[in-house]
Symmetry: C2
Subunit: 473 residues, 2 copies
Amino acid sequence: MDADPALDGFRALVGEAGLLTAPDLTARYLTDQRDLVRGVSPAILRPRSTAEVQAVVRLARALGYGLVPQGGNTSYVGGATPDRSGRQLVVSLERMAGIREVDAAGFSLCADAGAVLADAQAAAEAHGLMLPLSLGAEGSCRLGGNIGTNAGGLNVLRFGMARDQVLGIEAVLADGTLFSDMRTLRKHNVGYDLKQLFIGGEGTLGIVTGVALKLVPKPVAHATAWVELADGAPLSGLLAEVRRESADLVSSFEFITRNALDLVKDLGTAAGLKAGPGGALIIELSASSRRVPLDALMEGILEGMMEHGWVSDAFLAQSESQRLDMWRLRETIPEGEKQAGGSVKLDISVPLSQLDAFLARARAAVRQHDPDLVLSIYGHVGDGNVHFNILVPKGADRLAFTREVDAGLAHDIYAIAADLGGAYSAEYGIGRIKRGLLERYADPVRLTLMRRIKAAFDPENAMNAGAMVDPVP
Amino acid sequence: MDADPALDGFRALVGEAGLLTAPDLTARYLTDQRDLVRGVSPAILRPRSTAEVQAVVRLARALGYGLVPQGGNTSYVGGATPDRSGRQLVVSLERMAGIREVDAAGFSLCADAGAVLADAQAAAEAHGLMLPLSLGAEGSCRLGGNIGTNAGGLNVLRFGMARDQVLGIEAVLADGTLFSDMRTLRKHNVGYDLKQLFIGGEGTLGIVTGVALKLVPKPVAHATAWVELADGAPLSGLLAEVRRESADLVSSFEFITRNALDLVKDLGTAAGLKAGPGGALIIELSASSRRVPLDALMEGILEGMMEHGWVSDAFLAQSESQRLDMWRLRETIPEGEKQAGGSVKLDISVPLSQLDAFLARARAAVRQHDPDLVLSIYGHVGDGNVHFNILVPKGADRLAFTREVDAGLAHDIYAIAADLGGAYSAEYGIGRIKRGLLERYADPVRLTLMRRIKAAFDPENAMNAGAMVDPVP
């Protein structure tokens, strides 16, 4: 028997293993990835099918519960954590993890929304294809969350955001109705493209239960370079040259500052990789045909950069293990930040042409605010995304420091980004943590339209209420 | 003096040259490209700025007029033609044709919605970049229309639809408010991506007045092949091989049947180009760097096809003039159809893996219906788009035949497409002509959501009423 006898009704729908109420089992669903938001839920519901999600939504609504969909629970903005009212039920998609179909000739994959991203990648690869979506959390994040947050990651420069990979979607609406648009068409102009609202909609319009994604030919060749940048090397100039000279076969263009690299110094030393005065770049070209001479393309690119005086030194990975060394450095930085006491993460987006201006002005703003603060700056700058992270000073309380930065310095940085045509959320989204920023920075016309759309889908604010936006009354 | 003194108010807003009422001047705005729909409008309004569009919308609403935005008026579905009530005003964007900015380092272009597509392409090219959107009407169609209809065209396979090119949008809403989202960011996760609703929204949610578009490095090298297909050569297999072996540097994969080519026989003979038993393909690879050996890639691709027995003969264009000959053949087919007495155009979309199945079944359906009908089939099959056109029989009345096909045979073809996961509109959209199809084929859940969105933006149905969908009451 549960505290709330109403829960028995849910148990009948999702089975014994589908309903978790014991605190030791539910805890991990009730706090976010960075432990910044904690919520309460009478139960975690784990449906096994789209039909079960529909039934769960209908019963929850009849009983007056709200619903918070959750995938791998890897949000950086508290997007999947219930509030503390006890009136929201977490719906975990983790038992809906199947790959439904890979259509190799059609270059598409259909899967349940609870499929782990890495599993979907592997399914594509088994057919000689690639699902281009790739991010640090890929071993645990799930497709529904990737779609709901319009995830970014490492391959955006070449293949776009999660949005650009989506061909079709299936979602359960606030009244339990199924919106089914699981098409695999490349061209389909038949009215408003409703799936676009669910992509990046953070579960506020419905629970995504299935997705159809584009695949591309699997790369069989890579050329990966580690570039030590000279002082003042212009990122936007470098990127333009790399895009042109690689015939846009560049799949990654990652920038790492010296400070960020210091956080993983041991790894760097072991691999013999270091930053130049202007930081470092990982540039990777990839191709699905070995007939494309990637190494020669990369050598041409590096020579051009040398001639410009933009590069102090550069290395082309000579083996897969050297390539993985380079990537390991980049991918270990978030862990390095954690070990150094944590960081406040600002997820900045600026137009490609404003990258250098943004970095110069934002660094100066931090220095002026407190010259002792240490920055860890890195990111997918090939798509204008800078992870501008401020390390928690030694001895400071992480949460208190986070609040202090969010209330003050962060706004100076966001204002610089906004002034350059940029924004305060490139890929993390709004969730619960950035709602204040949305209200502060969004054009009121835009905010009103968002609230009207929310009202058109979910007038009673039952779907992931507290995240992103409330409906107009 | 005009018949309606209210028009004087508009004249004050847009100037003498901005208001057309004389029938010889207004006629071309009041019928569609194919002369299938004719409307009435007391005046054609031609504002010069976004502010003038806002003022026009406000005055029109105060006077009880609806608004029909129009760009180059090249719709195939009557998307920009007013009804016959005389209560709708056409708003032509043709005097808002400026390119606002090309940001070469940022790979972006901002323009007024009335800019002609070819002018925007030229502006990009002047900076060593390319605007990938390209279609037959590019010399006269305008960006606002391209966005409003989510235009497709020749480069979708590599670069996606118009939707995929859009970074930002500016639109005047039904109450004259400006929705301004002219960002040039690659990553921008700050709530529902509202611009996606205007893209393909056919002017029913507001009048798009400005757009920010992605640019890519300008191709400097091409390899273009004309391929005569053997009988039974599988299009989806060919496409998969070309994508993989070209490292996805394939920018066009156009299919032309023998019948379609017969319509431009003189050109074909002059150029020495003909179809094989299975039709013909134009395959084009392109790259922004001369270091990529495109000709060698193409030769490898063609050799592979020969080995599979899919190809009876193939030619690699040896000069730019040979390349243009190939494209001229493809691009002259619509004109050839016109000269042969016209055609009923079915704009089919199917999953890439279903191309061959669709063609076989749809051809059989036509044969069964009437073995004397002649088909002109061609299209951007690299993205699953088949232009399945039925020639008007000699001596038949074009309009009567169109109505007959639309009422009968077309549905058989649409049903085959639907059965294979496809649809009745790949790139043309809904407009006024395909509203019946939308109502017939759309999932009722989807249609209801569309109507609710329309109501959220335009509850009084003032914006391009009659196109696509009406608001829920």
